[in-house]
C-alpha cells in the first residue's frame, strides 16, 4: 500500500545573525492512511517546524514531500488550495488559535465559506453535524471563545479542522494546555474520529505518555534530527538511543513504587545554529566515544526500528 504522506530528506533552515539555524535537518518518514505518527522531543528540537513544513505553512529548504503519491514539494497556487482541504492542523493553544470576534458556528463554518461550494443551508447543517461529532452541545452555537473553557475551545479547533473532510491532520500539542481529566476526554474523541473517518495524524508533543497512547509509530527528535523511530511498543520495550533512554527515564510515573532509575543528563540542549557534523547529542551523552564525532547514520535495528547512534549495539 502506498503511503498517504511521504517525506524524504526534508530540511528547513532559518537565517539568523549567528548563521544558519538547522531547525529540521534531513527527516524521512512515511505515514499510511488511518495511522498515527507521534513526534516527540524537547522544546527547540524542531518538531513544530517539521509539522508546519509538511503542511506548507513554511516552505522547505530542501527535500521532497509526497502526498497521495504526488510530489507536492513546490505546489502551484491551485494545487495548494486543494491540498489545504486534505491536510489540516489543530493548534496547541485553544486560547489564541480562535478568532475572539467569531462565534463558535462562524469559526467552524469559515473553511466551508472559503471553499465557496456550499449553500448557506448546507453549511449550517454541516456545522451542526460537526458540533455533534466533537461533542459540543448545540446551545454553544452562538457563544464566543471567551465564554468557553479550554476543553470546549479545543473541540471547536477539532471541528474546524474536520470541516473540509481532511485525510491528514497535524496535531501540534493539542492537549498540552488542558487539565488531565479534560485531556483524557479530548484524546478519546480524537481516537474515535480516527476510527470513524480513517484519519492519519501526525501527533507532535513533548508528553511521552500521551504519545505512546495514541501513536502507531513514534519518532524521537533531537536538534532537528531524528535519533530514533520505532513502532510505539518497541520504542518503550527496546529503547536503543541514549537520548530516548534518558527521556523515558525522566518521566516521573504516577506510581508510588516506581523504581525507575533516572538518567540525569548533563547540561542542556545545545544550539542548532551551524551545528558540527557529528552526533548532536554527544556533549550530553554518557556513552560518547570517538566514533560519535562523525555524522551518525540511521540503522535498522529491528524491522521498522531505526536508530541513529554508532554505539547502539554495545549499550
Amino acid at each position: 500500500m502506498p503511503a498517504l504522506l511521504e517525506v524524504r530528506d526534508l530540511k528547513k533552515y532559518f537565517k539568523t545573525k549567528g548563521g544558519m539555524l538547522h531547525a529540521v535537518d534531513g527527516i524521512n518518514f512515511a505515514l499510511e492512511e488511518g495511522k498515527t505518527l507521534g513526534v516527540v522531543g524537547e522544546s527547540g528540537c524542531g518538531k513544530t517546524t517539521l509539522g508546519r513544513t509538511v503542511l506548507h505553512l513554511l516552505e522547505p529548504t530542501d527535500g521532497k514531500i509526497f502526498f497521495e503519491g504526488k510530489d507536492i514539494t513546490t505546489p502551484t497556487k491551485n494545487e495548494l488550495h486543494d491540498l489545504r482541504a486534505k491536510m489540516q492542523i489543530i493548534f496547541q493553544d485553544p486560547f489564541s488559535s480562535l478568532d475572539p470576534r467569531k462565534s463558535v458556528s462562524e469559526s467552524i463554518m469559515e473553511p466551508l465559506k472559503l471553499r465557496k461550494k456550499h449553500s448557506k443551508a448546507d453549511m449550517l447543517k454541516e456545522m451542526r453535524e460537526l458540533m455533534d461529532t466533537v461533542g459540543l452541545a448545540a446551545r454553544f452555537e452562538n457563544s464566543y471563545p471567551h465564554e468557553l473553557d479550554g476543553g470546549r475551545r479545543q473541540r471547536i479547533g477539532i471541528a474546524r479542522a474536520l470541516s473540509l473532510k481532511p485525510k491528514f491532520i497535524v496535531c501540534d500539542e493539542p492537549v498540552s494546555a488542558l487539565d488531565v481529566s479534560i485531556q483524557a476526554q479530548v484524546i478519546n474523541l480524537m481516537l474515535d474520529l480516527q476510527e470513524e473517518r480513517g484519519l492519519a495524524y501526525m501527533f507532535v508533543t513533548h508528553d511521552l505518555s500521551v504519545v505512546k497512547y495514541i501513536s502507531d509509530d513514534i519518532m524521537v527528535m533531537y536538534l532537528g534530527q531524528m535519533v530514533e523511530k520505532a513502532p510505539s511498543d518497541d520504542l518503550f520495550s527496546d529503547t536503543r538511543h541514549p537520548y530516548t533512554k534518558a527521556l523515558l527515564s525522566a518521566i516521573p510515573a504516577p506510581d508510588i513504587d516506581d523504581k525507575t532509575e533516572r538518567i540525569l543528563l548533563k547540561g542542556e540542549i545545545t544550539s542548532p545554529v551551524e551545528p558540527k557534523p557529528g552526533c548532536r547529542f554527544m556533549a550530553r551523552c554518557r556513552y560518547a566515544a570517538d566514533g560519535c564525532e562523525k555524522p551518525q547514520k540511521l540503522e535498522e535495528h529491528a524491522p521498522g526500528h531505526f536508530v541513529a547512534c554508532c554505539r547502539h549495539k554495545e549499550i
Binding site: 479534560i182 527521556l247 510515573a253 504516577p254 508510588i256
Partner: protein, 323 residues
Amino acid sequence: MEENLLEIRDLAVEYHTDDDVIYAVNNIDLTVKKGETLGLVGETGAGKTTIAKSILRILPPLQAKLMSGEIIFDGQDVLKLSEKEMRKIRGNRIAMIFQDPMTALNPIETVGYQIAEAIKQHNKIHRSEADKRACDMLEMVGIPMDRFDEYPHQFSGGMKQRVVIAMALACNPGLLLADEPTTALDVTIQAQVLDMMRSLRTRLDTSVILITHDLGVVADFCDSVAVTYAGEIVERGTARHVFKSPGHPYTLGLFGSLPRLNSTERRLSPIKGLMPDPTDLPKGCRFCDRCPEASEQCREAPPAGVETEPGHIVKCHLAKGAG
C-alpha cells in the same frame, strides 16, 4: 509525634468581583510537619495557588476576602500579624517559587544582585558579605559563580528556575511554597531540577508544599498528598495511602485519566463533565454532578471527612471509616 510546622484550620477565601462572589477556598484544614513535603494536587481553578498565597498573605487585596480560618506557622497565626511583622517572614522564613521563571525575575538586574538583595533584606550584613553568600547559593543550585553578573535573559528556562530556587532558599526558610516549579520545563530538565531540590531539602531540612497537577511528580517527590477540588480538600493522607488506596471518586477519576507508560489499554477513562462554576457551587458534595456513584444524599448534604486509614481522610459519603 513530630511537630507541626504549619497548621491551617478552617480557611475560607472568597474573591468579590462586581457581579459575583467566587468561592475559591472553602473551609480547608491542612498540616505540614517539620521536614515534610506535601503535594497539593488539583486542576486549574481548584484553589491550590490561593491556598499558597493566603499563607504568605499576598492575595490581591481589593478582591480577595478572607472569610474565616487561622494559619498557624511555628506557633503564630500569620493572619493576625501586622504587615511589618509579616515582611520579616516573607522570603525569610517562608519563601515561594513561582511557576514561570521567565516572569519571576527582574530583567534589568543581574541574577547575583537579585539573590543578594533577598539576603540583605533580612540580615544586617555588608554588601560584600551578601554577595559572597549569593555566590554560594548559585554554586549550590549548580550554576558556576562566574555567571553572578549575568542578566536573566542570558539564562535558559531551567537555569532561570535554578536562580529562582536559589533566591527562595537564600535565607534558609523553614517552609518553601513551590507553585508548579517544573511545569514550564522540559522533562529532562525537570528531572535535574527535582533532583537538586531533593538534595537541598534534606540538607537544609526545609518543609515543602509542592503545588502541581502532575501526579507523577507527586509520587516521585512527596511524603503526603492533599487533593483539591472546587476549593475543598477532598482527600489527604500519606502519598503511599493515597496512591495505593485512593478513597475519593475524584482521585480515582484522576488516576483513570492518566495515560500510562506501562499500560496496554487503548482507551482512557476520563471524568465526565467539567468542574462546577466557582460562583455557583452545588449545595451537596461538590463532585456529585460528575461522580459515577452519586446518590440523593450526595446532592443534598456536603459530606464530612472520614478517616479510612490512620491519617488518611476522605471527604465522601461513601467512604467507610477504619474499623
